[in-house]
């Protein structure tokens, strides 16, 4: 039920009564949605509300069970990606989808390569891509002939954005485009979106970052459990109200910084050195959260990988509880009490073809005796505890993880290590794609564990999150910690200044 008054002319896009079921799960249940030309329309909802599914129906990737798509008031049948493309619908999907063996230019033009009689005009392709990248101000992308496999996650996201904007779009959809972008790139993107809006393009914008939505959007539609809750102009609502709509409850304080009661040093690094880590030293105490702030591409992920024994260390020493450890493999790290929750949930985190229970129980395998499968009770208990604690929306423990929405997959990943009580927990972008309600849950649990003595290294591109959760903040650039600030003296401004100032040098 669209609350907005119907304008005289037909809207640019209207979805009517869209229903989509996956087996027993009803992802969309009679959803109505309208998009006008020249507006940015935010789509909000908890993890698993059905946002991505709605977008995939529009983009011809899923076929809706029922419902119609109207463009300029005329009913259209979208049977495949090609149909959507013809109608001027451009989508940037939530999970990255580039062919990493191809170059930037090739990816940008994929599926609509310039050329005659099927022959490829590589020169035209590359120069057009260069122009486009320059026009969009994507300084991160230096050479459009470079293969995508060498690019960082952020740069890849930029390539996806460039691809969507390469040809005339009437309807542009962005499904969490900023989840791995830095502030400056985000600003660039917003400028581009504002520009497109002025040209009359209709934009659907999905994000869990409410501040962004308040800044950018004209209207907002909230989905819950596959239903439309309502649509409002952005002036008519405030952030709290949106949260209540989405989650169904009030959230006053998203962040739960644990009380500062730092104990002994849990993890000490001295002059760590390898290809991407260029001399890192720090101390992390029991009961403390050390936040790592940095621009995307600074190499924080590589630091985390090094601390977990994935990347080899060339120099420096690492001490856990005062004893030196030599981490050659993740097994060594786990042995020493270090756990890493990686940033790429589908690539490095979950076994997508397996069940939720399998994934949740996998780390526990260490604890089984060599000739014993965990009995179903134990396994069930593990699942129940995780689902309860994190509010994971599942249809059953034996459902595949691939049937979960992005945010719920993230919750499975984070929750499975929690009960192991590691000495040191490294979180790399733990809230990527997680809705506000779940984020609050997650931080509450982390805070409790920290208060019980766990040490946490928190890596996040969301500066607000780092500032509000950490006891100390390490500003990270180019493989080095350039400054460590106590929480009290770290503000948005000072940290940004350090980062951008450093960048200017």
């Amino acid at each position: 039920m669209s609350a907005a008054p119907a304008p005289a002319a037909a809207p640019l896009l209207a979805l009517r009564g869209v229903t989509k079921r996956f087996g027993g799960v009803t992802a969309l249940d009679g959803v109505d949605f309208e998009l006008r030309a020249g507006e940015i329309h935010a789509l909000l909802g908890e993890n698993g509300a059905g946002k991505s599914t709605l977008i995939k129906v529009l983009g011809g990737i899923h076929r809706a069970d029922t419902g119609t798509v109207l463009i300029d008031g005329a009913q259209q049948s979208v049977r495949g990606v090609a149909d959507a493309d013809r109608l001027g619908v451009r989508i940037i999907h939530q999970e990255l989808s580039l062919a990493s063996n191809l170059s930037v230019a090739e990816n940008i033009w994929l599926g609509r390569e310039p050329g005659r009689w099927g022959l490829l005009d590589r020169r035209a392709m590359e120069s057009a891509a260069e122009n486009l990248v320059a026009r969009l101000g994507m300084k991160e992308i230096r050479d459009v002939r470079e293969t995508v496999s060498g690019l960082s996650v952020a740069s890849r996201q930029l390539v996806e954005i460039a691809r969507a904007l390469a040809t005339e779009a009437r309807i542009l959809v962005l499904d969490e485009p900023t989840s791995s972008l830095s502030e400056s790139e985000t600003e660039n993107l917003f400028a581009t979106l504002n520009h497109l809006r002025a040209q009359g393009v209709g934009i659907i914008y999905i994000s869990h970052r409410l501040e962004e939505i308040m800044r950018l959007a004209d209207r907002v539609t909230v989905l819950r459990d596959g239903h439309t809750v309502g649509t409002r102009g952005i002036g008519e609502v405030d952030q709290h109200e949106l949260v209540r709509w989405m989650v169904g409850r009030e959230i006053v304080d998203y962040f739960h910084r644990p009380d500062a009661r730092p104990g002994a040093v849990a993890l000490e690094a001295r002059g760590l050195q390898n290809e991407k880590v260029r001399g890192v030293g720090f101390e992390l105490r029991h009961g403390e959260i050390l936040g790592i702030a940095g621009l995307v591409g600074a190499g924080r992920t590589e630091l985390a990988r090094t601390l977990f024994g994935i990347d080899k260390l060339h120099g420096g020493t690492l001490l856990v509880d005062g004893t030196e450890v030599d981490l050659r493999t993740p097994q060594d790290a786990l042995e020493a009490g270090i756990v890493l929750i990686p940033e790429d949930r589908q690539g490095q985190g979950l076994v997508m073809i397996q069940t939720i229970a399998f994934n949740l129980a996998l780390p526990w395998a260490k604890e089984w005796n060599p000739f014993g499968f965990p009995d179903q009770h134990k396994r069930g208990a593990i699942v129940d505890r995780a689902v309860d604690a994190f509010g994971i929306k599942i249809s059953g423990p034996d459902a595949g993880v691939d049937s979960l929405s992005g945010g719920n997959q993230q919750k499975v990943l984070v929750s499975r290590w929690m009960e192991h009580r590691p000495k040191v927990l490294i979180l790399d972008e733990p809230t990527r794609g997680v809705d506000v309600g779940a984020r609050e849950d997650m931080f509450r649990i982390i805070a409790r564990l920290v208060e019980e003595g766990m040490a946490v290294l928190l890596i996040s591109s969301d500066l607000v999150e780092v500032l509000n959760m950490s006891h100390r903040i390490a500003v990270y650039r180019d493989g080095r910690i350039i400054e460590t600030l106590p929480a009290e003296s770290a503000t948005m401004e000072t940290v940004m200044q350090l980062l951008t100032g450093a960048q200017a040098q």
């Binding site: 790290a333 690539g347 985190g349 076994v351």
Partner: protein, 317 residues
């Protein structure tokens, strides 16, 4: 449970085959014929057990046929050393150790390359297949006969317990039972499923992926070694040229039994059922007097049909 349910259509398909062949060949379901059926699949099922592990972790082992030939050749060569007119337990033990040792070395090589280099298992094992075949032919170009005195070694392939149950069947059942426990009831087995499902994720969960891979290829090769001994014993001789195409038979058994080529899915009971279905088809078509060209065609169609059914069911689920 889920895995058991997946086997039901295969079991039905098997029963249909049995009924069809019974209609055509009235001795088909006779006890002796059924025992013979199990005995005929034993070599393939033992190899296919190892192959299932390999495919499960997203690998493959094309070298099994050649390794089988090499193991046979090595074993029988050792058996023929010294005074062949006298049976010697020592020599028999030595021969078996030599055979399994060679197999393990090849498994080690395959596993090491798979774990430590980024070479695809298809190519690694294609290379080691050629090397193993060459070595077998270097040892002897033509078949080597097992000295008739070596009745113990000949018993491996030919004796029957109580005059009824063939020794190869016993060996197969024991190995498959162990194989099933390893895969379905241990931590190690669970790790294999994780590796096949997502190698990176397994590594990030602290599973020693490389070590598991190494063990899998060694297991596969050693199982092939056992099959090679049964094979040599059954044929009273080692043939350096034997085993060609055995890898495809083993793969077919694994895949018909529900093992997924993309890794992470598959069971030992399923594989056994796959081997039984293919064996039943071979035997039935032979006994029904179907021309061998038509046998090829029907076998191809049955494999396609079985895998198609399996894939469809997976998609619906």
């Amino acid at each position: 449970m889920n895995a058991a349910k997946r086997m039901i259509p295969l079991i039905i398909a098997w029963i249909v085959l049995l009924i069809l062949f019974r209609m055509k060949v009235h001795t088909f379901l006779a006890r002796d014929n059924m025992i013979d059926l199990v005995q005929q699949i034993s070599v393939n099922a033992i190899i296919a057990c190892g192959m299932t592990y390999c495919i499960l972790i997203g690998g493959i082992d094309l070298s099994v046929g050649a390794v089988l030939a090499l193991v046979g050749t090595v074993t029988v060569s050792v058996l023929s050393m010294g005074d062949p007119t006298e049976q010697s337990i020592l020599r028999l033990g030595l021969a078996i150790c030599a055979g399994l040792g060679v197999a393990a070395l090849f498994g080690l090589f395959n596993g090491f390359c798979a774990a430590k280099t980024k070479m695809p298992p298809f190519i690694i094992t294609l290379g080691s297949m050629l090397v193993a075949r060459g070595l077998a032919l270097r040892i002897n170009e033509t078949p080597i006969r097992i000295p008739a005195q070596d009745s113990l070694f000949l018993a491996i392939g030919n004796a029957r317990i109580g005059g009824i149950v063939p020794v190869p069947v016993i060996i197969m059942l024991v190995l498959l039972a162990l194989g099933a426990v390893l895969l379905h009831r241990t931590r190690f087995g669970q790790h294999l499923y994780a590796i096949g499902g997502n190698r990176e994720a397994a590594r990030f969960t602290g599973i020693a992926v490389g070590r598991a891979e190494l063990i899998v290829y060694i297991l596969c090769a050693v199982l092939t070694g056992v099959a090679g001994m049964i094979h040599a014993s059954q044929l009273y001789s080692a043939e350096p040229n034997s085993g060609q195409g055995f890898e495809l038979n083993a793969i077919a058994a694994a895949v018909v039994g529900g093992t997924s080529f993309t890794g992470g899915v598959g069971t030992i009971p399923g594989m056994l059922l796959g081997a039984v279905i293919i064996g039943t088809l071979d035997k039935g078509l032979n006994q029904a007097g179907v021309h061998f060209s038509l046998q090829y065609i029907l076998k191809g169609l049955v494999i396609l049909a079985a895998v198609y059914m399996d894939v469809r069911r997976k998609r619906q689920a």
